[in-house]
């Protein structure tokens, strides 16, 4: 199972590289892949790596060369199936022109040749697919050969980019099938080529009364996790324990940037520091018992710097001559003794304290189960525990804090692990007891984290935010408002000597992380499971930087 999962990450990267845009790759029960927007759902039944890669390649062909959601109302179901099959062949040709090696992936996944006596719709399409894919193959069916002839002629005459020309030959072919009285049963038809998707990507069935099978598949794909509800307040009340059960530790007020007024609104947000409600030792035990907790501690580089107050004398090489040693050398020479050649001095090196505060987004959306059952919050917790366990030989002062917000009057802030303290049982329990609720008011939380980091010893000080989406809160309706506020908070932190960086577990994060954190201090994890490794690397970088 695990192997399959790690495969998905590799497939997502493969798709990103080939298509040039982010593609989310998940699994879904079904017979054929489904491409919905930029999300590719692979059937759970297809586990052969070669077939899965061919599925990704085909989806990339659509993403690069197909226009999605064309109106389907003018076509009959059989027409849709033929136009789709021709379109599949067209975009695969186009893709193979740029990536010739992909042809082999498709060819390797071809189904066996159907029985020559089978003149059903699926068999004919399957034979046509084979002929269009393998130029050397032969078939004795007139219609299939006509399809090949028309396709090659059109490709030579109009070029592969001309969608309309291919649409025209697809109409001819569908018409021929009608003349041949080939029956088409939308409910029974599955795209014959196993690596091709169900073509719902290509069509917009908005106005069809009788939905063809593609539309059914489209509905089926609605089973994927829904985006977080915009109104997270109701949900917060339903989730045990209620925020009211937490123990309040203190209240702080912070300004907020108003992008329209272009100034800070003083004392606008109230940050409430809390202890998460005590859940007993159960969660920590649970986590300790789960097998994948036993991860080898991560070896992180240690930041070092020259310590000018500390001079190393009598060195083999260095910037300056150590005068005392030099005099001894000259004395030894006069005495015809063998001098000690270590007569240089240089500044010594001492480790410099580096403090990294990992700030976890504990909004309600973190509870959503990901494609692989574990919620982002669970993965965040695991990653935090792993990183904290590696602390002994890594970052000098590592802290874990979390936040969630319920309007500007209540930005909850949890200090889970204080900098420099070991990860003891209470801290583990506290991290384990976290529940995601409410929304993400990044700016206020960043300001509070920055003010806490300013109390840290001088050296490298950084706040690393882990989030699953853009900043949002229920009392803000302008989507850019909180983004601009967070950007302002990051700039303020930088001025205060605290670097702010972000790991976004959100394939669509490009739109805002860069705006908030600048072009360098962010990292996008398309796949939540890569979070522990990303977190470890990013925090090590922040600690090692100057």
């Amino acid at each position: 199972m695990n192997e399959g999962h790690s495969g998905l990450g590799a497939l997502a990267l493969l798709a990103r590289g080939l298509a040039g845009i982010d593609v989310e790759v998940q699994t879904l029960p079904g017979a054929r892949p489904v491409l919905a927007g930029r999300r590719l759902l692979l059937p759970t039944s297809a586990s052969a790596p070669g077939l899965r890669r061919a599925m990704v390649a085909h989806a990339v062909a659509h993403l690069r060369h197909s226009q999605p959601a064309r109106p389907a109302h003018a076509l009959r179901p059989m027409g849709i199936a033929i136009v789709s099959a021709i379109e599949d062949a067209r975009v695969e040709r186009l893709l193979c022109r740029d990536f010739p090696g992909l042809h082999g992936w498709f060819a390797a996944s071809l189904p066996p040749v159907p029985d020559a006596l089978d003149l059903g719709f699926a068999a004919l399409v399957s034979r046509m697919d084979r002929l269009l894919l393998l130029p050397a193959s032969q078939d004795d069916n007139h219609w299939v050969n006509k399809a090949r002839r028309l396709f090659e002629e059109t490709a030579a005459r109009a070029g592969l980019e001309d969608y309309d020309a291919f649409r025209a030959i697809a109409s001819i072919l569908a018409n021929d099938l009608g003349q041949m009285r080939v029956r088409f049963e939308p409910q029974d038809y599955v795209v014959p080529a196993p690596w091709r998707d169900d073509n719902s990507y290509l069509w917009d069935f908005a106005e069809t009364q009788t939905a063809p099978d593609e539309a059914i598949a489209l509905q089926q794909s609605g089973a994927r996790p829904a985006p977080p509800p915009p109104d997270a307040q109701d949900e917060g009340g339903a989730l045990p324990p209620d925020a009211a059960g937490d123990i309040e530790l203190g209240r702080y007020t912070y300004p907020e940037w108003d992008r329209k007024l272009e100034r800070l609104r003083p004392d606008w947000c109230t940050v409430i520091e809390k202890l998460p409600a005590w859940q007993g030792l159960l969660p920590a035990r649970e986590q300790a018992a789960s097998g994948n907790e036993r991860v080898a501690p991560l070896a992180l580089p240690r930041a070092r710097h020259l310590d000018r107050t500390h001079r190393l004398r009598r060195q083999w090489e260095g910037d300056d001559i150590d005068l005392n040693a030099a005099i001894e050398v000259l004395v030894d020479r006069r005495l015809r003794l063998r001098p000690d050649a270590r007569l240089f001095m240089r500044p010594g090196k001492g480790p410099r304290p580096s403090s990294v505060l990992v700030l976890l987004d504990l909004s309600a959306s973190a509870n959503d189960p990901g494609p692989h059952a574990a919620s982002l919050l669970d993965i965040e917790k695991q990653a935090a525990l792993m990183l904290a366990a590696s602390n002994a030989r890594g970052i000098d002062r590592l802290a874990f804090h979390g936040f969630s917000s319920n309007t500007r009057a209540e930005v909850y802030y949890y200090r889970l692990l204080e900098p420099g303290l070991p990860l003891d049982e209470p801290a583990r329990t506290m991290i384990g007891a976290l529940r995601g609720r409410y929304s993400t008011r990044m700016g206020a939380a960043l300001r509070h984290a920055t003010s806490l980091m300013r109390a840290e010893p001088p050296g490298q000080r950084a706040v690393l935010l882990v989030t699953d989406g853009a900043p949002a809160d229920i009392d803000v309706h302008d989507p850019r408002y909180l983004i601009e506020d967070a950007r302002q908070a990051v700039a303020e932190a930088r001025e205060a000597g605290v670097r702010a960086a972000c790991i976004a577990v959100d394939g669509a994060a490009d739109a805002y992380v860069r705006r908030i954190f600048g072009w360098r201090d962010y990292c996008i994890a398309d796949d939540a499971r890569s979070l522990p490794a990303r977190l470890a690397r990013m925090s090590a970088r922040l600690a090692a930087a100057r």
Partner: protein, 272 residues
Amino acid sequence: MNAPVHDPLAAYRIESEPFYRPAGNEVALYRQAYRHRMPLILKGPTGCGKTRFVEHMAWSLGRPLVTLACNEDMTASDLVGRYLLDANGTAWHDGPLTLAVRHGGICYLDEVVEARQDTTVVIHPLTDARRILPLDKKGELVRAHPDFQLVVSYNPGYQSSAKDMKPSTRQRFAALEFDYPESMLEAEIVAHEAGVGLDLAAKLVAIARCSRELKHRGLDEGVSTRMLIYAGVLIRDGVTPRESCEMTMTRALTDDPDMASALQGFVEAQFG
């Protein structure tokens, strides 16, 4: 060469023309900057040709090129020089920067942000109108030779260093930005440098394009032009394309199995 009898920079002269294919008008811009001995920053990702460019310019201007790869342990003394002990007592030895300043070379500090900021401040008096290098330990003020120019390079995209130049240092330089050349040109460069056919070079470049899409998604930097040349050289010597790409790109770039599998996928997408 019409070098003087004793040329302290003889070892730094470039004898034959280094191959460089301009991607824009950087050669003309460099020449203009050199006319005024303006200090230059060359920015750009790893392996895109910054060092080769400065070698080419030094060759075409007929100036010696003193290159220094900067690192964190480098101190100001490593640049300007230090006293060493010899039979008669202490003797001053010029550092590479002082050599170039005194005798008129182009001094190239590669990956300058790797050096600590307090080291790089020694170049300040050299990079403004004064053009002097005070050797405070020796008590000497070296006036720069009229031919001397300072060039530094750095790689702004490399996240792990996350270092930056002090604004006061940065402001003294004019900058030229480099990037990987566009596909056709990059293929020509790879074909020339690796001695392979243009078709093969174009395939290698297509692999690199895919890998560069993965920046910020687990890769710090995609496959560089230099890596492509390595791969091309191995293929020319008879190693299979898949093996040479695996050796020079996939394994060299990443340890992450997912990433390696995706990179290998790009290779297969070209070579089957």
